[in-house]
């Protein structure tokens, strides 16, 4: 048993070492040439625009259910008019970044791992290197950049749509006036909350995409390996989203509040 644990620990440490090395290479390729502009634009489109629908729907329904749940709870205290505060504070600080992160992890993290994984098992990555192209520059850097920039954009959209969703439910089902809802939304938000909601998705976007790329590039064992890599990428990046969210929140609370 200790032998197996040692093996597992060794494998885990190796994984971390390789991940950190990949991040180092990504950093170096960011500041040196060649830079594949076309691939970067393609990935901005694939990761950003491609995830828009799922993020819009998630944001909308989260805002709606939040208004519904908190509306009835607040009723017990006769404070139904405060529903906007609850919706805005929880969506902007937590639910917007985390749910967008989870959706992107499911959609983009798995896609990246499957794509890069099949390129590894069909020797396309080796072919790229043989043709004089560094796969980190060509495949990883554009994806990481796109994740880093587009997840915050998606998060802002998700949060905005979430508040609109909350507004729909508040006005139509809870019968609270529109102006009261929006006033309450603004009152519930402090500038620190907005910063927190904006900073977190940068870290989450980077984490999700870099994990997807790392897992994809470490694929082995044919088509079965590609399936395994895809599952691992989704699981690892989803857990990472929650864990990183906690760590960054903790850090920002110390720094800002």
């Amino acid at each position: 048993m200790p032998g197996r644990f040692a093996e597992w620990l060794k494998a885990a440490l190796l994984e971390v070492q390789e991940y950190v090395r990949m991040i180092g290479k990504v950093g170096r390729s960011l500041v040196s040439r060649p830079f594949y502009y076309r691939d970067v634009i393609e990935q901005f489109d694939a990761i950003g625009v491609g995830s828009l629908t799922v993020v819009l729907l998630t944001g909308l329904f989260t805002g709606m259910v939040l208004a519904l749940q908190s509306g009835f709870t607040l009723d017990q205290f006769g404070a139904r008019s405060m529903v906007g505060r609850l919706v805005s504070a929880s969506i902007v600080k937590e639910l917007g970044p985390v749910l967008t992160g989870l959706m992107v992890a499911g959609r983009v993290g798995s896609g990246i791992a499957a794509e890069l994984g099949s390129m590894v098992v069909t020797d396309q990555i080796a072919a790229l290197r043989a043709l004089g192209t560094d796969p980190i520059r060509k495949l990883v850097l554009p994806r990481v950049l796109a994740g880093f920039v587009m997840v915050p954009v998606l998060t802002v959209i998700a949060s905005a749509v979430g508040m609109v969703g909350g507004w729909i439910v508040t006005v139509s089902l809870l019968r609270v006036a529109s102006s009261i809802y929006w006033n309450s939304v603004v009152e519930g938000l402090y500038i620190q909350d907005v910063w927190m909601g904006l900073i977190k998705p940068f870290v989450l976007g980077f984490t999700i995409v870099s994990i997807g790329c790392h897992v994809g590039l470490r694929t082995h064992g044919g088509t079965q390996g590609v399936g395994r890599a895809t599952t691992n990428a989704v699981v690892a990046s989803s857990v990472a989203v929650i864990a990183v969210d906690y760590l960054v929140t903790q850090l920002l609370i110390v720094l800002m509040y």
Binding site: P34, T122, A130, G132
Partner: protein, 285 residues
Amino acid sequence: MAVLHPAPRPPLLEEALAHGGPIIVFDRVWLAFDEKVILRDVSFTLQTGHTKVFLGASGAGKSTILRLILGLLKPDAGRIFVNGEQIDDMREDDLMAVRADLGMVFQEGALFDSLTVRENVGYKLFEELNWPRTDANRRVGEVLGFIGLADFIDRMPSELSGGQRRRVAIARAMAAKPRILLYDEPTTGLDPITSLTVDQEIIKLRDLEGVSSIVVTHQLRDAFFIAEHTAVRRVDRIAIERAAGQKAEEAEFIMLRDGGIAFEGNATELRVRTERDPYIHAFLS
């Protein structure tokens, strides 16, 4: 016209690596993955314009040799020279310059399945060498014509048959006019007629374009065909004929067994040796 060769060599090196010069040298190379020794003390020299055919059972380390030449793997011991440069301890960034003069045809082709045939074949010209668009397109048309697939230029790899994919892979490897071409099982899994077409492409590239080549295979028929034939430009066509004299000496076989070299010599010597060595006999019959 854009540069023909990606990296012009200094004059002295050019002279040293002229026809017959040592373009690839393995000097006592060892490689092991964990406990398993893949290559033990392997040394050989590929001369410019010549062919080396690597034979051996699956897992004998044949494909590993090609990956070492490309720098995709690093040896545990020994030295490897490609084009006059020692590459065994070279950094990845410097290896890119060495790879500019190498073309590799992977097992199953390894075409990029999100790109068309044109983009696959011209990948290096468009993306890495930044050739002017018109020159690159002309070169892509030229190499696809050479392998007889000019009509397939706008197809996706998934729309091609196995043999066509392999030939497009050859076109991609030769597009940037490298001085060295490496073939990993170029005919495995193909029918005899298609295999023959692929063999003829390899012979044409070697004899008409002066490319030095390493062919890894366990298809003996193809190995002997490549070694014993030559391509000659006639007035109206390119003819594939039986090689004679000096030309017949320019193709050598290396048989790998348990990571070491079990035989090295030309086709005639291999046939003689077959009579005496039970392993080679079993392999060849």
